[in-house]
């Protein structure tokens, strides 16, 4: 044990960072699809669907991601479903991100003024046409900045995938620190790498916000 930081360690960290990016993309795509469904379900004309979706959101938003990951990876096999670490991480992140993005997007859809719905209705557009042609295009514009902002949280939260065996950035740093015992140095490096991944995304979301003149009211995880 011991030694000092060498190029192998840095390569190991870089590999971890790649997993961080990969998992983030999976989370964004999977969570995005789930979030879309959740958002539509939350404003569904059917009461049962609305309640179901609201319950899902409440449950997921009240549970730490770590626990969700754990229960997905180790809780499904006894039910006869085998999951690889990648599947487990993807499913958990999808379920988790879907709940948050769904809520964010529902807010955006609802913030399109009611008069726009009525105007579209008055023009005899069907419900689907109203949604697709009038409401969603406007909601997408509103939703872009908070969605990009939430991306930052996804990037940081993928660190919890270590529980299913992923050696992503944070876990890679931990493993190296456990060999070298240089916590200050190593965590500083990790902080810098995360910052380098997240800051451009934050900046982008701010730029988008500024271009819409809309203050940020979205929620972020720590």
């Amino acid at each position: 044990m011991g030694g000092s930081l060498n190029v192998n360690h840095l390569a190991f960290l870089a590999n971890g960072a790649l997993w961080t990016i990969g998992l983030s993309l999976i989370a964004l795509v999977g969570g995005g699809l789930a979030g879309f469904v959740v958002a539509l379900a939350r404003i569904s004309p059917l009461r049962a669907v609305r309640i179901l979706a609201a319950g899902y959101v409440q449950l997921i938003q009240g549970t730490p991601l770590l626990v969700i990951m754990f229960l997905t990876y180790f809780g499904l096999p006894p039910l006869g479903i085998t999951v690889s670490p990648l599947t487990a991480a993807s499913v958990s992140l999808t379920v988790y991100v879907g709940a948050y993005l769904g809520e964010i997007w529902r807010g955006c859809i609802e913030s399109v003024p009611k008069q726009q719905w009525e105007a579209a209705e008055g023009l005899a557009l069907s419900r689907t046409q109203r949604m697709m042609r009038v409401i969603l295009p406007q909601a997408v514009r509103i939703a872009t900045p908070p969605t990009v902002g939430f991306m930052v949280q996804i990037i940081k939260n993928t660190s919890l995938a270590s529980v299913v065996g992923f050696v992503e950035l944070a876990r890679a740093g931990q493993i190296i620190n456990n060999a070298l015992f240089e916590p200050f140095l190593i965590y500083l490096i990790i902080a810098v790498v995360y910052f380098a991944l997240c800051y451009p995304v934050s900046r982008l979301s701010r730029r988008l916000e500024a271009s819409q003149g809309r203050p940020r009211l979205s929620v972020e995880t720590a």
Binding site: M1, G2, G3, N6, N8, H9, A11, F12, F70, Y73, F74, P77, P78, S162, V163, V164, G165, V167, Q174, I175, I176, N177, N178, A179, F181, P183, F184
Partner: protein, 238 residues
């Protein structure tokens, strides 16, 4: 049957936490190393198997074998009756010599001197359980999630005493020459065993044979000495 499956596949999946030096860790080329790692490698070589490492964290060692994501655990598992209700253990292949270590300069001789001192310990380890049960000794424990964080706390000055293996206690001074720790108060020795999910008697039997043979021929002792700096207890070496 687990043993048949493993032999048929010519591959064994071994769960090890690579973040608990000196049992499981990464060398400077980022390859797995440590006493548990070499023990597992010896086993695989003897049985003519290939190893697939299953990286675990402290919390996921057991669920990994329970849910058949790993075949066996070689990861400083110490045997307690409570744990034996959940998984099956082999005969011990090594022992953990637990001590309370403090700064060399500290005047600590016995348990009474440890009163009111904060002792860092790895959460949920047998040392933790042991010290937690010493209610009448008024110990103050600070529990960390793993050995590495605990050692880091000691190295950085957040803790002045640690309860761990003698190996780890000695390691602190290597990392920070300004804070040399030495074993002060022995706790006791714990047996370390290989974990297998319940209901696999053939696997347990075969592992026990292997352990007995390698304790006898001194190979396990050699590995232990290489990483921990001391020999296995004599009664174990047989």
């Amino acid at each position: 049957d687990l043993l048949d499956d493993v032999m048929k596949a010519k591959k064994i999946r071994i769960a090890t936490d690579m973040a608990i030096p000196p049992s499981g860790m990464m060398d400077s080329a980022m390859k797995p190393t440590g006493s548990d790692v070499e023990t597992a490698q010896l086993l695989a070589k003897d049985w003519g198997l290939e190893i697939e490492w299953i990286q675990t964290t402290g919390a996921t060692r057991i669920p990994n074998v329970q849910t058949n994501k790993a075949d066996i655990i070689v990861s400083t598992l110490s045997v307690t009756p409570e744990r034996a209700k959940v998984i099956d253990f082999t005969k011990p292949y090594a022992a953990l010599q637990s001590v309370v270590g403090c700064l060399k300069t500290a005047t600590v001789k016995d348990w009474a001197d440890l009163k009111d001192k904060t002792i860092a310990v790895s959460r949920g380890t047998t040392q933790d359980t042991e010290l937690s049960n010493m209610k009448d000794r008024n110990l103050k424990l600070a529990r960390f999630d793993d050995d590495a964080t605990m050692v880091t706390a000691a190295v950085s000055g957040q803790a002045d005493c640690v309860a761990s293996s003698a190996t780890i206690v000695n390691q602190i001074g290597v990392k920070n020459p300004g804070r040399v720790f030495e074993p002060k108060v022995p706790i006791r020795n714990f047996d370390l065993a290989i974990g297998v999910r319940q209901g696999e008697p053939k696997m347990i039997e075969k592992l026990n044979e292997w352990i007995a043979a390698n304790l006898k021929n001194g190979k396990l002792n050699e590995i232990y000495k290489k990483f921990h700096g001391s020999e296995l207890p004599p009664e174990m070496r047989g």
